[in-house]
Amino acid sequence: MSGESWGPGVLVPGRTPLRYRGASVVWRVRPVVVFALSAVVLVLAAAVNLGRGDYPIAITDVLLTLFGGGDAGQQLVVLELRLPRTLVGALVGAALAVSGGIFQSIARNPLASPDIIGIQAGASAAAVFVIVLGGGTAGVGGLFASLGIPLAALAGGLLGAVVIYLLAWRRGIQGFRLVLVGIGVNAVLIAAVHWLLTVAQIYQAAQAQVWLTGSLNARSWNEVLPLAGTMLVLVPASLVLVHVLGALRYDDDTARGLGVRVDRSRTALLLVAVVFASVATAAAGPIAFVALVTPQIAQRLCRTGTPPLAVSMVLGAALTVLADLIARTALGSVELPVGIVTAVLGAPYLLYLLARPRQEARA
């Protein structure tokens, strides 16, 4: 035995819990440091992103403009073009990362993320459907077309999630079954997308391909406001629910023994995760990799047992804004879709984390 005592007031030996009424939190240094560093990266990337482009603006002028100064040109470029775009990137990245973290925690499987189990595919199928058949006048295509691509994507993501949930429901939701059902539904939806691409005119196929890659190009306040509104409601909700995730790491009976209402909490968490993923995909397309990898990177950086949600959120935002900055500036005047950069940036990093020599970190 170590010298630490396991008295009633101690959650983790050697650490003093912070308590407020019934709630308690163990203060860990690593997650806080990672959180702070991610936030710094986010702010720096956002600041540079606001200044760089065809119309470069010095960082001091960017700050001036943000606080109401600057000339008319600077105000237009910063406040109407680059700021909303950067905000969309940050919000989308945060939403995808949290969504992935929740899914991965509930399913206890690192492959369970909205891009693998059919949520983003549902949004994609609906959006490509609109792009390819939207020119049609009557029927479902016409109805979807009148709603526009983002709303169709939102509806598609939510609808896909409901189908997956109903198919996976059997006296409760079990994480593993949810992933398998999701993969099944995902395969059908991706097949549908591929088929739609073959029946499309080539220019429609090209337009669909851009959307399918995930892009922040020409995003405006019209995308920021719904995203921000959703986040405002869901972020507190997910932070309240997050304590349940710790209990859900164990089997259901243990979690019940710890006083968690397992099915209800899980359903609520899944709902939050689905809305996060759908709203993000509606705003920017199915940006690759952020939802799958950010929680895994955060988990490894923080050396925790499950993906830490708050850290994932900031890290996801930082990664996406950084990726957009690179997408906009890496090839000079040619602008890449952000989804390409998130993958090119994120994949080798995950590979490095996997391949680096053994450490004391938990696998």
């Binding site: 549908a192 390409i340 090119v344």
Partner: protein, 331 residues
């Protein structure tokens, strides 16, 4: 148990025969049964004879080969990664093949399916080799999780690179979107000839690794104490997966879901013993692919629905029903 396994294998063999006959007899063009028979035994060179001998028979042969390859590959991936979500696509095969095909189209102007095969095969090989190398270097070696994660990471990377090529070049997109959907149509006998030996060697390697897979399913330590070299077994397994999935994908484009669903289907009567599971998965893969191809030809006449689409549409409900019915926690 033994009787159930033999019955199951027998049923699969009969189904394969039926599927082969259906694939030869049925299609966009309606050909009476007696003319089908005469085309097989005493061809006269009529139009129907040509359709059957130079279109449907090569297509059927290719379907059987690719079906066996993908079924075996799926069972191997699930065995080696000990992940019931395993699919050859998990090791980056699909996206590796797709990326190299796109590069072949964009950089070298390759336009024929015959030409795509080598690019697809090379891509499948490179991708799964990279995934395996990275997966084994992870802490704790080639665990199921590290293989799956490195596969996902490489897949995403290759998918993004593929997107960037087809976004730059509309001609590549145009060719790629038809390759990417997965189809048996328009492949002449040469395509089957290109891939057949890879599939044969891959199948032999697969069947040979069955006893080691049985030991591995008890855990690496148990397998080692039973006298199996875990490292060598994995190497052989990855070689087999690459040959089988690479050849299948090279010949037909990415067919999702077949490798994932087939092992789950046959496990219901073979149980977890890979000496039975692997042959059954090969046969079931061929049956499923052929039937899906026939259905695709019949439902959308005079055009056709590509087999990749039909496999997904048939496979998904079966798969979901299985997931709901059985306890899938352990493999």
């Amino acid at each position: 148990m033994r009787q159930r396994r033999l019955l199951g294998l027998g049923a699969l063999a009969v189904s394969l025969l039926v599927a082969v006959l259906a694939s030869i007899a049925l299609g966009a063009k309606v050909i009476p049964v007696n003319e089908v028979l005469s085309a097989l035994v005493a061809p006269t060179g009529s139009e129907n004879d040509v359709v059957i001998r130079s279109l449907r028979i090569p297509r059927t042969v290719l379907g059987v080969l690719v079906g066996i390859a993908l079924g075996l590959a799926g069972a191997l991936v699930q065995g080696f990664t000990r992940n019931p979500l395993g699919d050859p696509g998990l090791l980056g095969v699909h996206f590796g093949a797709a990326f190299f095909v796109v590069c072949g189209i964009y950089l070298f102007g390759v336009t024929s399916l015959f030409g795509y095969v080598w690019f697809a095969f090379a891509g499948a090989f490179v991708a799964s080799a990279v995934v395996f190398l990275i997966g084994t270097r992870a802490p704790g070696g080639a665990t199921p999780v590290s293989l799956a994660l490195s596969g996902a990471a490489v897949s995403f990377l290759l998918q993004a690179l593929t997107s960037s090529v087809v976004l730059i070049d509309e001609t590549s997109l145009d060719a790629y979107r038809f390759w990417n959907v997965g189809s048996l149509a328009g492949r002449d006998a040469g395509v089957a000839g290109q891939v057949v030996w890879f599939i044969v060697i891959g199948a032999v390697l697969a069947l040979a690794s069955a006893p080691a897979l049985n030991a591995l399913s008890l855990g690496d330590d148990v397998a080692a104490s039973l006298g199996h070299s875990v490292r060598r077994t994995r190497l052989v397994g990855v070689a087999a997966i690459t040959l089988l999935a690479g050849a299948g994908t090279a010949a037909c484009g990415p067919i999702v879901f077949l490798g994932l669903v087939v092992p789950h289907l046959v496990r219901s009567f073979t149980g977890p013993d890979y000496r039975w599971l692997l042959p059954a998965a090969g046969l079931a893969g061929a049956v499923l692919l052929l039937l899906a191809d026939v259905v695709g030809r019949l439902v959308a006449r005079p055009g056709e629905l590509q087999v990749g689409i039909v496999v997904a549409l048939i496979g998904a409900p079966v798969f979901i029903a299985l997931v709901r019915r059985r306890k899938l926690g352990a493999i």
